[in-house]
Amino acid sequence: MKRIGVFICWCGSNIAATVDIDRVIAAAQKMSGVVYADQNKYTCSEIGQAMIKDAIKEYRLDRVVIGSCSPRMHENTFRKTVESAGLNPYYLEIANIREQCSWVHKDKEAGTAKAISLIRTAVAKAAMNEALFAAEMPITRRALVIGGGIAGIQAALDIADTGFEVDLVEREPSIGGRMAQLDKTFPTLDCSACILTPKMVDVAQHEKIKLITYAEVDKVEGYLGNFTVTIRSKARSVDLQKCIGCGECIAKCPSKVASEFEEGLVQRRAIYTPFPQAVPNKPAIDRAHCRFFTAGKCKVCQKVCPADAIDYEMADRLLTNQYGAIVVATGFDTHKLNNYGEYAYGKHPDVLTSLEFERLLNASGPTGGKILRPSDGKEPKTVAFIQCVGSRDKAKGNPYCAKICCMYTAKHAILLSEKVPGSKAFVFYIDVRTAGKDYEEFYTRAYEECGASYIKGNVSKVFPDGDKLLVRSVDVLSGALVELSVDMVVLAASVDARADAKELAQKLAVTVNAHKFFTEAHPKLRPVDTQTAGIFLAGMCQGPKDIPETVAQASAAAVKVAAIFSKQSLLGNPTVAEVEPKLCSGDLSCMAVCPYGAISEQVVEERRGREMVPRKIAQVNAALCQGCGACTVACRPGAINLKGFTNQQILAEVDAICL
């Protein structure tokens, strides 16, 4: 017979006001197995916890039931209390008589009756509680960071600075990401390259960071502390060990293709580095556009290479590595403007996206930092900026706000006034959102000091009009129709999740939301965790955010990784599924429903007559099992059970309720 102690908490008047504690105690004392019942004003206080510990010793209690607030509130607190008195922490059971009783039932009679029933249920379950022990799991103290933009760079540097090894995987030939494409950053107008490039170099030189560029994640297996990741290192066709980065090959390459980094404004060669400050500053051959790979002859780059670094035979290599934690920092795509034909994008060369405009501003960009119209190379004197193209548009684009456009457009308006004296910016907006430190001041500067005109209204159409562009809108504040003739139109295209975000999510077993941004474990309290332990998020891949937020999130993710690596081993969740081999029929229905691949088949030798016969049964990997219990219902012979929530315990609860 178990020796169960029951402790009822008043929670001040929170419980005591609508539950007659004395009657609950009297009823508890009569319950089967209960040898002690007592009450306390605040059980979670030090005195309340001491009372439990003393009673465990004095009355030799071996199971503890606490009637108090929700177990989601104080289960861990009380488990520690019970453990410090020498009992297994899983001998504790909590009856939720506050959130699910006293707070929702005003009638004291009904409340008391329900509280007694809840205590009886908890006592019935506690009597069947077994000691549970968390399995210890070793940790591979090496992190994988996927994506080499500012988020990935920051996360990698922060993890590496704590002394742990990091592999940084980037799919382009160079790290740098979107931030490398930017000219200046709001609200301080720091030169983007000036603050990013040193970090890129730090990554390349850090002894704890291994940079794997031109590579993608192929497969992810395993779990927190022990992920096995297969990385596809794409054939670069250039031997990074031999290449000296002189650039001879690039200069002589005869094949040209639109540059992704320059947003298609200029062409790059088939053998290329994406931009001058690339890290590593060594080229890759884009085989889809290389004359040798498409037409079978050329080899000019090989002829001019002084280091004999060109290797046309190079093949994709699969690298399989172990990691303890993963940071996903894969960034975003800019919204495709196919649905916005009315803005003449793609039809008129002087209609640009904001990122294209950004490249015009950049000193290393196609125009050397001069704002010039792509059509005729003249400086635009008037520029219309159209906000929310594809953002906050349920009908044709994304329903969400892209968050960064208001601020970068203010930046563009300021930079335009600086670079083209006498110019004028017109900004068409729905709302201007400037929540951020010094952001409002920056926006104010755009219209107060730099002369930008802000017009509240959705642009309905942009018409080519001679060598000008006619922008038609309505000013909703005055109600007047607006028609402006401008030299250039810049569209603030929304941000999308990466086109292949869902595929990566499936590889990682993490979730995405309706817009394919990765989902955090809790929108407020666990913003960098995913629902999969050991996988963290940083930057735009989780949702629209600006650089400071991205960096903050990356550092937060790094700390989460370091916290895991700071331990020698990890304690798993002890409430996992368990197979009773004698009952298991080996049909493995459980395996099919397990969302974590935690169940595998094993062969056991069994004596049948005089021979030993092999038999197939299920086995649970306790480290992979998250304890959902879906398998327990799928199992026809009832061979698989969930520790802490066994069939017997739940049935005992049902019986106790229905008594």
């Binding site: 929700s70 177990p71 989601r72 509130m73 939720n96 506050r98 959130e99 699910q100 009783c101 707070w103 929702v104 039932h105 005003k106 009638d107 009904a110 409340g111 009756a113 329900k114 029933s117 809840l118 249920t121 077993a509 979730t511 629902q531 409430t575 429903v593 969302p595 974590y596 998250q626 304890g627 959902c628 219990g629 879906a630 327990t632 219902v633 799928a634 969930l642 929530f645 069939n647 739940i650 049935l651 609860e653 049902v654 019986d655 309720i657 229905c658 008594l659």
Partner: protein, 143 residues
């Protein structure tokens, strides 16, 4: 003679998943949303942990109604658990009539951790429905 259910207080067993519906119940409490005291909650990690035999057992032991509540399909903490719940319990629902129990006595609802008000509303509407049906005698008599 018409059956009157006046004064009848039903007993309803509610299986709530830890991550959504149990949290929703806690939120209803924190928000002091009063609802029927006929409901008794059993915490399970996931609605997919609820074996149909638990539900039958509750009816055998005299429960007048059984509710299973989980995360909204697609939002399961364990990715896919509630899809299994949905399939399994749809089958069970079909079987209720065969067992001789009004199918309305057994309900499945999706209540997220942020839907405290919905939790209270569902508890009240289920309690109302069961009150209208009167006591469950069928399986209780078998016991």
């Amino acid at each position: 003679m018409p059956v009157t259910n006046e004064g009848f207080e039903p007993l309803i067993v509610a299986f709530c998943c830890n991550w959504c519906s149990y949290a929703g119940a806690d939120l209803a409490g924190v928000s002091r949303m009063s609802y029927s005291s006929n409901v008794r909650i059993i915490r399970v990690p996931c609605s997919s942990r609820v074996n149909p035999s638990f539900i039958i057992r509750a009816f055998q032991r005299g429960a007048d109604g059984v509710l299973v509540a989980g995360c909204h399909p697609g939002d399961c903490h364990y990715h896919s658990g509630n899809f299994f719940t949905r399939r399994r319990l749809t089958v069970l629902k079909q079987m209720m009539e065969y067992l001789g129990i009004e199918p309305e006595r057994f309900q499945v609802r999706w209540i997220s951790g942020s839907e405290g008000a919905k939790f209270a509303m569902v508890m009240n509407s289920v309690a109302e429905e069961i009150k209208r049906l009167g006591p469950n005698r069928k399986l209780r008599d078998v016991r």
